[in-house]
Amino acid sequence: MTMTRRQVLKSGAVGFTAFVLPAAVGRRAHAAGSNPVLVAVYQRGAADGLTICAPTFDPNYYALRPTIAVPPGSALPLGTTGFGLYPAFAPLLPLYESGALAFVHACGSPDPSRSHFDAQDFMERAAPGNKSITTGWLNRYLLQAGSGQPIQGLTLKKAKVKSMLGPAPSIAFSGIADFALGGNSQAERGAALVARYASLTGTLLGQAVTDAFGAVDLVAGVDTTTSAVYPAGELGPALRDAAALIKADIGIQVLCVDLGGWDHHSQQLAEMNVVGGELAAALAAFYADLGACQSSTLTLVMTEFGRRPSENGAAGSDHGHGGVMMALGGGIGGGRVILRDGAWPGLAPGNLFNGQDLQVTTDFRDVFAEALSVHMGTPLASLAPVFPGFTLEAGNFPGLFA
C-alpha cells in the first residue's frame, strides 16, 4: 500500500460516512415476540461491487473501464455520497433512502486468493488463508449462542452451505412445499424411519435423517400465504419461504440462501441486468414481506471478492479483490455507503492492491461480528471462537447500527 490515509482522504472530494462506534454493543431491543434472525445471502461467483455501487465520482473508474463503467447519467445517485446504484438495482433505492439498506464498500477478505472456491471457503469459514479450519462461521456461532435445535440454522437450498457446516445441528431444504413425508402410510412409515435411524445418530446419515424428521414437524404448520410479489428464479422463491418461516417464529436464528451467476468475465452489464435485477427485486419483496419482523431480521449480502477495476477484452472483468457487502434491516442505520474512516481507497494506479485491484479496507469479519454482537445480541467475549485468530474490537466495526 503506497498511499497514506491522508492522501486517500484528500483524493476523495465527497464526504462518506465514517465508521462510528455503535451506540450500544450488546443485546438490542426487538419487538415483542420477535427473536433476532440473521439472513446471509451469498452472491456466488464474485459480484462486481464497482458496478453495483459505482464510484461515479472517480475519474480512474472511467479510465479503467472504457466500455463497461456505469455512466454517470444512468447511475441512480445514492444520496450525496457520490456513488451511484446500477439501474438494475432500482428496487433497492427506496430501501436505501428509508434507511433500511447500507453498502459497505472496499470490503472483503485480507487474503489475496482469486480462486472462487478458496475465497468462498475462507469467507464462509471466517478464516482467511487458513485451510485447517473447516467449520462454517455460522455453525461456530450456533455452537456459542444457538438453541441447539436443528432448526436454529437453516439453509434454503438442497444442501447446506459451507457457512453452516460443522458440529452444531442445522438443516437444509429447498422449499417448504417439498419438506414433508408424502405417499401412503405416512405416520407409520415416518415412525419406522425415525426408529431405524435413531440408533445411527453417530453417523452423518443417521443424524441428517433424525434432524430432518424433527424439523418436518415444525415446518408443517407454517403459513405460506403472502401478498408480496417475488421474482421467479433461484432467490425469489427461497426468500419467500424465508419470510414465511421467520414470521412463523419457529426457532430459526440464522438462515442462508444463495444466488449464483456473478462471474461476469464477459458481457458484464447485460449479465448484471439479469442477476442484479433478480437480487434487487427479491430483496425488496422480502423486506416488505417481513412486516413486523423487519427490525428483528438483518440480511447481509456478500460475495467472495470483488472484480478487477480494469475491464478485460470481452466487456467483462476478471477476478479482483475488494468488493461490496450490503446490509438490509429495519434496525440498521442505513442510507449510507460505509467506508473505513470515510475514505475511498481510490482506483489510481498507486492506490490499487497489488497494482491492479480495489483495496480491502473493511475486513468482512468486522461486518459479520457486528451483526452477531449488535443484532443477534451475543456478547463480544463469546464470539472469539467464531473468528479464530481475529481480534474483535467494537471500534473496528463498520457501524451498521450507528
Binding site: 480462486s115 485451510k131 438442497k158 437444509a172 401412503n184 477484452g313
Partner: protein, 752 residues
C-alpha cells in the same frame, strides 16, 4: 443376538457402521476378551486331541474307548462323546473365566460369551475331521491291522492339521491382544491406536496372520506335507479313499485340502468367538481366493464400480469372480453393449456433429420442430439409461466422474448444443486412457472454451478464467505452488485456442490471436517465442506430468471409489502407478480397484451417501424394472429434484463428491418420498414383487432377498417387520409396497 445374525448373514454393514464403531476398549474389557479367548482356544486344542484319540482308537478297533455306554461306540459319536471328560473340563474353565472377567465388564465389540464360544470350538473342530473324512467317518477310517501306513497317514494329516489350527490361534491371540492395546499395529494410520471396532480388529488379525512374522504358520502348514507324507506314500489304500472329504489323488493335494480345512475351521471359529465380519470367502478355506463370493463384497464392488447390482452384473461377477469382473470392466471395449446401443438409437442427437446439431435443433424453432433444448434433454435421458442398462458400468461411472472433474454447464446457447459432443468426443473416449489426452481433448473442446471463456482469450486481451481453473481444478490444485503470474503465463499460452464447428472435434488454433512471446511457467517450464499452438500443448504435457496433478487426480478417484478420507498407502500406490505409467488412467484404476483397501476393508463399505444420479438408477436396478418401459424423462427429473441437475452444475468444480453434501435433511425427505412412489410402481417402474406368505416376517424376508444383494441388518429387518405389524392397511399388495418403501429407505439402500 443381533450380532450373531449379522455375522451369519455376512452383512458387513451393521458390523462396521451401526453401533459398531465403539472406540478403544478399557483395560478390563481387554482383559476379558484376551482371557476368555485364550480359554476358548484351549477348548479347541482339547477337542483336537480328543478327535485324534477317537480316530486312533477306531483304527485299532478299540471300540470300548469310543464311548461310555449308553453313548454310541462309533468313531463319529466319539468326537462329541468326550470320553475322558477333558473337553467339558476346559469348557468349565472357560465359563468360570468368563464370569470372573466379563461378568461386570462387557466389551463393546468382539465378545460372544462362553456358551457361543464353547459350541463353536467343538463344532468347528469336529468339522475339521469331517472335512477330511467326508460325512461317514467310521467308513473312511482304515483299520491299522489292514493298512498300517494308511492308518498312520490319516492320523498324521489330521493331527498336523490340528496343530496348524493351534498355531493360528496362538498367533491370532497375540495379534488381538496387541490390536486391542494399540501396540505395534500394522494396519490403520496409527500403529499405536487401539482398534475401535470388530472390523478393524479383524483386519489387524488377518494382516498379522498373513505376515506370519516368525514363519511358524508356514512351518506348521508345511509339516502337513512333510514328514507326514512318508506313510501316505507307502499307504496301500488309495488316497481318495483315505480322505473321502478331499477330492485328492496326490499327497500334495491331500495336504492342500487339509491345510484349507484347518484354515477355514480356524476362521469360522474366530468369527464366532470374536463376532467378527469374516467373509465367507475366508471362512471356506482360510484364503481370500474367491472360492466363495461374499454377498457384502459383491454388493460393494457393484455399488462402487457401477450403479448398483442388477441381474446381469450379479451373474457376471458370479461367473468371473471379483477380480475377473473388475478386469473386464476395465476393458469396456470387450463387453458387448449392443442392446444398450439399440435403445440409445431413440436419441438421434447423441451422434450428431456440431453443425448437424445446429441445423437439426434451432435455437428458435418453428412450430412442430424440436429446438435446442432437445439436445440436452436427450443427453440427460441417455445418461440415466446408460447407468441403468449398460453392461459397461465402470465406463459410465468414470464418464460421470471425469465430466464432473471437467465440469461444463449446458446453460448458454452454445453449450446447449456443444454439451453432447463434449461428452462424446472429449470425455468418454479418454476415461480409461491417458490423463494427458483427456486434458488436451477438453482444452480443444468448444464447450469448455465457452464455459471458462477461453474463446475470448487473445493476445493483449487476456481472459484468465480457463487458465486459473486449468491449474486449480483440472490439474495440480490450488496449493501446488503456482502464482498469479503463472495464471497470466498459462493464459498467454492458450490464447487463440478457439472453436471451429466444421472441424471434427470443433477446434481451431487462431495464430493471429496467439501471444507469440516467450513464457515461463512455475519457474521451470520455459516456452520459447513463436511456439504457436505448441505452447498450450507444452503446458498440458507439463501439468499432466506433475506429481501434484497425479496426487490430486488419484485422491479424487479414491474419494469416489474407496473412501472419502483416502488411505495414504493407497494414495501412494496409485500415485506411483500414475507416474510410472505416464498417467495411464486404466492402470491407475486397476491399482485402486484391486487394492486391499477397496476389496478387503469392510470398514470402507456403505460409507458413502449415494448421489442422486446413483440413487435413481440403482433403484431401477434393484427393482429389476423393465428397462424398455422406464420413464427416463421422469428419472432425469427426479435426479434434478434431489439436487443433481444433469449437465447443469453451474460452478466449475461440478458437484461435490462428499457424503456431507448429499446427506441434506431436505433432500433426504425428498428421497424417501421418491422411494415410496417407486415402491408403489409409480414413476414408470414396471416390475413384479416376489410372492410372499403374507406374514410380516415373510414379506420382509422375501423383499430383502428381492431388493438387496447382501442381507440387510437385523435392525432394518426388525424395523420393517414392526412397521408391517402396526400397519392397518389390509390390502396385501399395498402392504408389500409399503414394506418395500421402508426397506428402500433404509441405510442399506441410501448408502453405498
Amino acid at each position: 443376538m443381533w450380532k450373531r445374525v449379522c455375522i451369519l448373514a455376512s452383512v458387513a454393514f451393521w458390523c462396521a457402521h451401526g453401533s459398531a464403531y465403539a472406540g478403544a476398549q478399557s483395560a478390563d474389557q481387554q482383559r476379558c476378551l484376551n482371557d476368555v479367548n485364550k480359554r476358548a482356544s484351549v477348548v479347541v486344542r482339547q477337542q483336537g486331541r480328543a478327535n485324534f484319540a477317537c480316530v486312533k482308537n477306531a483304527q485299532r478297533g478299540l471300540v470300548a474307548r469310543l464311548g461310555v455306554p449308553p453313548q454310541p461306540e462309533t468313531a463319529a459319536a466319539c468326537l462329541t462323546n468326550d470320553v475322558k471328560g477333558l473337553v467339558a473340563k476346559r469348557i468349565d474353565a472357560l465359563r468360570s473365566r468368563d464370569a470372573i472377567r466379563c461378568g461386570a465388564t462387557r466389551p463393546d465389540f468382539g465378545y460372544a460369551g462362553a456358551a457361543t464360544m464353547a459350541a463353536a470350538a467343538v463344532d468347528e473342530s469336529v468339522a475339521l475331521v469331517t472335512a477330511l473324512s467326508g460325512s461317514d467317518l467310521d467308513a473312511a477310517l482304515v483299520p491299522a491291522a489292514e493298512d498300517g501306513d494308511g492308518a498312520r497317514c490319516q492320523r498324521d494329516v489330521l493331527g498336523r492339521a490340528g496343530k496348524l489350527v493351534d498355531r493360528l490361534w496362538k498367533d491370532a491371540l497375540r495379534a488381538k491382544k496387541n490390536a486391542l492395546a494399540g501396540v505395534a499395529r500394522t494396519t490403520g494410520s496409527d500403529p499405536t491406536a487401539p482398534v475401535g471396532s470388530g472390523a478393524e480388529l479383524l483386519v489387524e488379525i488377518e494382516a498379522a496372520l498373513a505376515a506370519d512374522e516368525r514363519g511358524r504358520i508356514a512351518r506348521d502348514a508345511s509339516r502337513i506335507r512333510d514328514p507326514g507324507t512318508k506313510h501316505c506314500v507307502l499307504a496301500r489304500t488309495p488316497l481318495a479313499q483315505l480322505f473321502p472329504g478331499c477330492v485328492a489323488a496326490t499327497v500334495d493335494a491331500v495336504a492342500t485340502c487339509a491345510e484349507a480345512a484347518a484354515r477355514g475351521a480356524f476362521f469360522r471359529t474366530l468369527a464366532a468367538f470374536d463376532v467378527l465380519p469374516v467373509s465367507c470367502d475366508r471362512e471356506d478355506d482360510g484364503v481370500v481366493n474367491e472360492t466363495c463370493l461374499d454377498p457384502a463384497l459383491v454388493a460393494h464392488v457393484l455399488d462402487r464400480t457401477g450403479y448398483g447390482p442388477d441381474a446381469w452384473t450379479r451373474a457376471r461377477i458370479a461367473a468371473l469372480g471379483i477380480e475377473g469382473y473388475i478386469l473386464e470392466q476395465l476393458a469396456p471395449e470387450t463387453i458387448d453393449d449392443t442392446a444398450l446401443d439399440a435403445m440409445l438409437a431413440q436419441y438421434p442427437s447423441l451422434a450428431m456433429s456440431f453443425t448437424e446439431l445446429r441445423d437439426s435443433y434451432p435455437a428458435n424453432p418453428p412450430d412442430g420442430v424440436e429446438g435446442i433444448g432437445t439436445v440436452r434433454r436427450e443427453l440427460q435421458e441417455a445418461k440415466v439409461l446408460r447407468a441403468v442398462a449398460s453392461h459397461r458400468q465402470l465406463e459410465q461411472v468414470l464418464t460421470d466422474f471425469w465430466f464432473n472433474h471437467f465440469n461444463v454447464a449446458a446453460s448458454s446457447r452454445r453449450r446447449k448444443w456443444d454439451i453432447s459432443p463434449y461428452e462424446r468426443i472429449a470425455i468418454r473416449p479418454h476415461v480409461l486412457g491417458r490423463f494427458r489426452d483427456l486434458l488436451l481433448a477438453v482444452a480443444r473442446s468448444p464447450a469448455m472454451g465457452d464455459f471458462l471463456d477461453n474463446r475470448q482469450n487473445r493476445v493483449g486481451e487476456l481472459n484468465e478464467n480457463y487458465s486459473r481453473e486449468f491449474m486449480e481444478l483440472h490439474t495440480a490444485g490450488v496449493d501446488s505452488g503456482y502464482t498469479e503470474q503463472d495464471v497470466v503465463e498459462v493464459a498467454r499460452c492458450f490464447t487463440g485456442w478457439r472453436e471451429d464447428y466444421d472441424a471434427p472435434d470443433g477446434f481451431e488454433f487462431r495464430a493471429d490471436w496467439h501471444d507469440q512471446g516467450a513464457k515461463t511457467i512455475m519457474g521451470t517450464l520455459q516456452i520459447p517465442p513463436g511456439g504457436g499452438e505448441q505452447d498450450g500443448i507444452a503446458v498440458i504435457d507439463f501439468f499432466a506430468a506433475l506429481p501434484q496433478t497425479a496426487e490430486r487426480v488419484v485422491r479424487k478417484l479414491i474419494v469416489r471409489f474407496v473412501a472419502e478420507t483416502p488411505p495414504l498407502a493407497l494414495v501412494d500406490a496409485a500415485v506411483a502407478t500414475y507416474l510410472a505409467s505416464d498417467g495411464d488412467l486404466r492402470a491407475v484404476m486397476e491399482t485402486i480397484l484391486l487394492s486391499p483397501e477397496f476389496l478387503d476393508r469392510p470398514a470402507y463399505r456403505k460409507t458413502k451417501v449415494k448421489r442422486p444420479m446413483h440413487l435413481i438408477p440403482s433403484l431401477a436396478r434393484a427393482l429389476g424394472a423393465d428397462v424398455t418401459r422406464l420413464n427416463l424423462g421422469s428419472m432425469r427429473n427426479r435426479v434434478r429434484d434431489l439436487g443433481e441437475e444433469l449437465y447443469q452444475a453451474a460452478p466449475p468444480p461440478g458437484y461435490p463428491d462428499v457424503s456431507g453434501y448429499w446427506a441434506s435433511p431436505g433432500t433426504l425427505i425428498t428421497r424417501f418420498n421418491e422411494l415410496e412412489r417407486a415402491a408403489r410402481g409409480e414413476r414408470g417402474y414396471t416390475f413384479t414383487y416376489p410372492a410372499t406368505d403374507g406374514t410380516s416376517a415373510g414379506v420382509v424376508d422375501a423383499l430383502a432377498g428381492f431388493l438387496f444383494t447382501a442381507a440387510p441388518s437385523a435392525e432394518t429387518r426388525e424395523v420393517a417387520i414392526a412397521f408391517l405389524d402396526g400397519l392397518a392397511e389390509p390390502d396385501p399388495t399395498a402392504r408389500v409396497a409399503q414394506a418395500a418403501a421402508v426397506l428402500l429407505s433404509s441405510p442399506e439402500f441410501l448408502l453405498h
